[in-house]
């Protein structure tokens, strides 16, 4: 961002318009994700759209509202890389959950 003003080392300063634009964009994205439920989309299309809108919203909040896109990479990596290990936790627990469900069906039948 070449138009970023760093006035007297006084922290992050950006034109106010960018916040209003992002605000509007977040409104639109929230409406779209609500519409996914409202018009009752199902199956993979539903899940894909939910995830896409969620990631776009999260990205905009982190990058613009939390100023991450203007921070130095040393801070960006220190904060954004560690949560990636959660992907391992998610994968492990998905396998675990699946096994539990299958053994419940085998040993307790459908009603367990």
């Amino acid at each position: 961002m070449s138009d970023t003003i760093h006035a007297q080392g006084d922290g992050q300063q950006h034109p106010i318009g960018i916040y209003l634009k992002i605000w509007l964009l977040l409104f639109v994205l929230s409406t779209l994700s609500y519409m996914v439920d409202y018009i009752n989309l199902q199956g993979y299309l539903r899940w894909t759209l939910i995830i896409i809108f969620m990631l776009l919203k999260a990205g905009l909040i982190i990058a613009i509202f939390m100023h991450m896109m203007w921070e130095r990479l040393a801070l960006v990596y220190a904060i954004l890389l560690p949560p990636l290990c959660l992907l391992i936790l998610i994968a492990l627990m998905a396998v675990e959950g699946d096994t539990t469900m299958l053994s419940r069906i085998i040993y307790f039948g459908e009603g367990g």
């Binding site: 760093h6 006035a7 007297q8 080392g9 006084d10 922290g11 992050q12 300063q13 950006h14 106010i16 916040y19 209003l20 992002i22 605000w23 977040l26 409104f27 929230s30 994700s33 609500y34 996914v36 439920d37 409202y38 899940w47 939910i50 995830i51 809108f53 969620m54 919203k57 999260a58 909040i61 982190i62 613009i64 509202f65 939390m66 100023h67 921070e71 130095r72 990479l73 040393a74 801070l75 990596y77 220190a78 904060i79 560690p82 949560p83 959660l86 936790l89 998610i90 627990m93 998905a94 675990e96 959950g97 699946d98 539990t100 469900m101 419940r104 069906i105 307790f108 459908e110 009603g111």
Partner: protein, 229 residues
């Protein structure tokens, strides 16, 4: 070699990319250059909070995947009837818009803080706090509605017993964060107004803002995974 301060920002000597990461961490200087101490610490707190909320959401995923009973239809559970019209997830949608709006006003408060416009900063932070408080109010309404309908942490009439536990833990912990955020916002807003930061600078507004945006960020994930899935 003293620490690098804000005045040197934007100098062409600064290396970018991975070379910059290596220089910042290895140069026997402050690793987080131009970042106020409080802000770096807030980021690290938020990182730890990310893991707490992730534990709740992953637990929710695990119990939902492992139950053989149908999960309650959130679209129906959280539906409201307004003037005889049945609208699915209405309250949750309104809560989402309120929280996003409060994030917008907070971002502008941070901006006016750095411009040293104390009056606008104060009012925008106050609006943010009021929107946050109204969010908590709606959550209280939602909780009492579900409790009235018989939802408990150990069971409910709509389906899988784990629904109540996941709902109360996740939204309860998030609501607690919003409530603390409202108090935090009010304290900082009134200190801004009183002139406590006139000499020390207005980074505190940005730090408070980081916390508030994080609360909004967590809601984005809760909205997607708990309410829409």
């Amino acid at each position: 070699m003293s620490t690098v301060t804000g005045s040197s920002t934007g100098s062409s000597k600064e290396s970018k990319g991975w070379q910059g990461v290596s220089d910042d961490w290895g140069g026997e200087i402050e690793a987080f250059r131009d970042v106020p101490w409080g802000k770096a610490m807030m980021w690290i707190f938020l990182l730890s909070d990310t893991f707490i909320f992730s534990c709740f959401l992953v637990s929710y995923m695990t119990v939902r995947m492992s139950t053989t009973v149908d999960w309650p239809l959130t679209s129906e559970v959280f539906a409201l009837t307004v003037n005889g019209v049945h609208v699915p997830l209405l309250l949750i949608a309104i809560m989402t818009f309120i929280l996003i709006t409060s994030s917008g006003t907070m971002a502008m408060a941070v901006n006016y803080g750095y411009r040293r416009d104390k009056k606008k900063t104060f009012w925008l932070m106050l609006v943010t706090a009021i929107l946050g408080a109204s969010f908590v109010g709606m959550q209280a309404f939602e909780w009492s509605k579900l409790i009235e309908e018989g939802v408990r942490p150990w069971g409910n009439p709509m389906g899988a017993a784990q629904f109540g536990a996941a709902f109360f833990m996740i939204t309860g912990f998030h609501g607690l964060h919003v409530s603390i955020g409202v108090i935090y916002l009010l304290v900082v807003a009134f200190k801004v107004k009183r002139g406590d930061y006139d000499d020390t600078g207005f980074e505190i507004v940005e730090i408070t803002g980081l916390y508030w945006h994080f609360v909004d960020l967590v809601w984005v994930f809760i909205f997607a995974f708990f309410y829409l899935w």
